[in-house]
């Protein structure tokens, strides 16, 4: 008998620590992180920013989240042990974490920490001691942290229904508290009673009674949600599939209407943020074709954005550098075409370059474009570092789209068009060829796929989408400068499509909202924005590498298969 080959999959075994060891390790790590957050100045800086007015500040939240997360982690890692053991371990870890802060506090009292850590200020001392004496403050810190860790562990041990209801409640409170500036804009709008606004927010933040109301509402809704959705299902089942379809379309129309109304209701600031998000969605959709579908890593993507912007500027601006005076509506397609041509040129030299080398090559190409634009050689043509001024706003039917909230609609329309194209391509012969190229270039070629054509099409289309974004950017800002087109934009776009889920169109939108929209709305994070940005990316890649909204292309193709007819 021939010998059988047994394919065995080896599962990496997670080393099981003893529970006390785990508790001590978690506690120590939490203590270090908490001290880090304090010494970096995060805690004090955000202490002025109230989530719930007078009750909970962002700084406290930030430090408090650490023992809470520590408790959760413990409960997850030690699953299988008795609840009492886990809770005890969490309390120990929490106390240890609090002990770390106590140590920091006492160290600050006795030594001149500030000579090394600028942020070990009296304000930090006040933050940590709650204005109490050292002894009492130590007690409060330790027990507080232990309590938080305990509740974290208890939360993870609780039944799923209770847990999700609690998470929904707290999550809602936090989101409302964090996004209060935005919500105020809406509440300031016409037709809303002043009393409502005063009920929800005082001048610092969410009022405590409003916080309780929000919590209760979200908690209850999530609590009864299983029954509610079940009832909806039975109703839908009774009414037949037409009803379900109507419901779905109703939801879609309502959300589109909501998005369309946002800039009107939210005013100029929100319009600007939406505009920025839309531009990044456009670029994300372009890069998604290159990286997400065709697997061609591109770190020079900003070059196409720049080319689109310069084409619109050069052909429409009221400036000495202008080469034509086209209307915007002609200049924008032209920007797309020129960018696509640049994409092809870009693609040609790197056709045979693969993987990491491709990333470096495209990085170089992107820098070449930026340096060309800023160079003195081309200064007489495109203005060098001074850029091009006087890019006019587009006019439509005699109306000038001057304000951000007008231009938002332009970029949303462009997004919709581009998303449609990307969606059509994804499920087609061309999209399949791109994905095959990503999965195994050699095998794809040996099936007769012309790699040159497929790669160049990916580069060209991706570049065209970025060109459109660049064109809109030029008219939005009204001027074009070389330093608007830094490498960081390429990296941002790449990060947002990875965060959203490579190869997924909704993923691009979610990623742009999360990485571009949220930081704009959470301006107070200021200089620490990139710290959180990086943190979020690392955590995402560790725990959800497939992205926030992973690609569903495979599921869709099977749905087509199963459709009757």
């Amino acid at each position: 008998m021939s010998f059988e080959i047994v394919t065995t999959s080896f599962r990496a075994k997670v080393r099981r620590r003893s529970l006390p060891g785990l508790a001590l390790a978690c506690g120590a790590i939490t203590a270090i992180s908490a001290c880090y957050v304090c010494l970096m100045g995060l805690a004090v800086m955000f202490n002025d920013r109230w989530i719930v007015s007078g009750v909970l500040s962002l700084g406290q939240l930030l430090v408090g989240m650490l023992p809470l997360a520590c408790g959760c982690y413990l409960a997850v890692r030690a699953s299988g042990r008795s609840a009492r053991q886990i809770l005890f371990a969490a309390a120990v870890a929490g106390t240890l974490a609090g002990g770390g802060l106590v140590a920091l506090l006492l160290l600050g009292e006795t030594t001149a920490l500030r000579t090394i850590f600028v942020n070990a200020s009296p304000a930090l001392r006040k933050f940590l001691s709650f204005g109490l004496g050292p002894g009492l403050a130590s007690l409060v810190l330790c027990s507080g942290a232990a309590l938080l860790a305990l509740s974290g562990a208890a939360l993870c041990l609780a039944r799923k229904r209770l847990r999700s209801a609690l998470v929904a409640g707290f999550g809602t409170c936090l989101s409302v508290g964090l996004l209060q500036d935005l919500l105020r804009i809406f509440l300031d709008g016409e037709g809303l009673p002043k009393a409502l606004r005063e009920h929800l927010f005082d001048w610092q933040g969410l009022t405590w009674f409003a916080a309780i109301e929000f919590f209760a509402a979200a908690f209850l809704l999530r609590w009864i949600w299983p029954q509610l959705s079940q009832r909806l299902d039975t109703v839908a089942a009774r009414r037949g599939s037409g009803f379900r379809r109507a419901l779905r379309w109703g939801l879609i129309v309502a959300s589109i209407a909501f998005v369309l109304l946002l800039p009107v209701l939210g005013g100029a600031f929100l319009g600007q943020v939406m505009m920025l998000v839309a531009l990044f969605i456009l670029m994300g959709l372009g890069l998604n074709i290159e990286v997400g579908l065709a697997g061609l890593l591109d770190l020079g993507f900003v070059a196409f954005f720049a080319i689109g912007a310069y084409v619109v500027a050069l052909t429409t601006a009221n400036s000495e550098f202008a080469v034509a005076a086209l209307p915007f509506w002609l200049a924008l397609p032209l920007a797309a075409i020129v960018a696509a041509a640049a994409g092809l040129l870009f693609g040609l030299p790197v056709l045979r370059v693969r993987g990491d080398y491709l990333a470096v090559a495209t990085l170089g190409l992107g820098e070449i474009v930026r340096l060309l634009v800023i160079s003195d050689t081309l200064k007489p043509l495109i203005g060098g570092a001074q850029g091009i001024l006087g890019v006019p706003k587009p006019t439509l039917a005699g109306m000038t789209l001057a304000s951000p909230s007008h231009l938002v609609y332009l970029s949303l329309a462009a997004c919709l068009l581009v998303a449609y194209c990307a969606w059509r391509l994804q499920g087609s012969r061309i999209g399949r060829a791109w994905i095959a190229l990503r999965e195994d270039e050699d095998a794809a070629q040996a099936l007769g796929l012309n790699l040159v054509g497929i790669k160049l099409l990916a580069y060209g289309l991706g570049a065209a989408f970025a060109g459109i974004a660049g064109g809109i950017f030029a008219t939005m800002v009204g001027s074009v400068f070389p330093h608007s087109f830094q490498l960081i934009i390429s990296i941002n776009v790449l990060a947002l499509i990875i965060l959203g889920g490579l190869g997924s169109i909704p993923g691009v939108i979610v990623g742009a909202l999360a990485l571009v929209g949220m930081p704009e709305l959470l301006r107070e994070f200021g200089e620490f924005r990139f710290l959180f940005y990086g943190l979020v990316l690392v955590i995402m890649m560790r725990f959800r590498a497939e992205g926030l909204w992973p690609s569903r292309a495979s599921r869709r193709s099977s749905a087509i298969l199963e459709e009757p007819g």
């Binding site: 394919t7 391509l425 012969r429 099936l447 007769g448 796929l449 193709s557 298969l561």
Partner: protein, 281 residues
Amino acid sequence: MSEHDAHAAAGDRAAAMLQLQELSKSFGGLRALDCLTLSVRRGDIHSLIGPNGAGKTCVFNCTMGQYRPDSGTILFEGLRIEGLAPDRVALAGITRTYQNIRLFRNMTAQENVMVGYHTRLRSGLWDTLLATPRFRREEAEAQTKARQLLDLVGLSGRGHLPARALAYGEQRRLEIARALAAGPRLLLLDEPAAGMNPAESDRLMTLIGRIRDERELTIILIEHEMRLVMGISDRISVLDRGRLLAEGLPQEIRRDERVIAAYLGTGPAAQRLAAQDRREY
């Protein structure tokens, strides 16, 4: 040896599907193929056997255009194809499978086959964006064909699964379906039965025979398990260190002293084993 070669070359040229003439390929100092001359008749299942490192897969890589041979020519249906890019070779009518499975792992089984069907569709960018009738027709056609091919290789109802989720034997069969989708006249199968149990590989060989008969293909098969090779092959070529050691009908190869020596060595123990082996057959 030379007499043998002359005989092969003098055979009916029109009947030769693939001819390798004095093909050589070296990697550094290692001569993977050493003046290899080989002819495959149209409609045959032609097996390549030989010890590890004999150059069998290298023959496939050179034929497919994935390696460029150092010297020598490859004629496919009388046309020279050596040095052509793999996609051109595939268009000419040759596709292959791989020893270490190379599916598009994250695509579904059906999509894998549809990629194989790519070159037989014509709709371009505008057809796709505007969803023209041609696009819809071709898409439906590709789906139907893919489903038929999946049925053929025994993967009915598995089309919606990602390729990586399929069982090992299923993946091997999916690779065959994908290769068939491109519409080849010559199919190169590189150890299609590797890692299968005896029952599975028996079924696979039946399938290979059926594909050849139904689709009027020529198949070159690299396979290690003698039981299968002897059962299915019309002709067998034995390679050793990049050279053709012997060629002939299965029963001729089985008795060939040189083949036995290459496989088993020439010591007395090997002789005894070989004798025993002959008795069993």
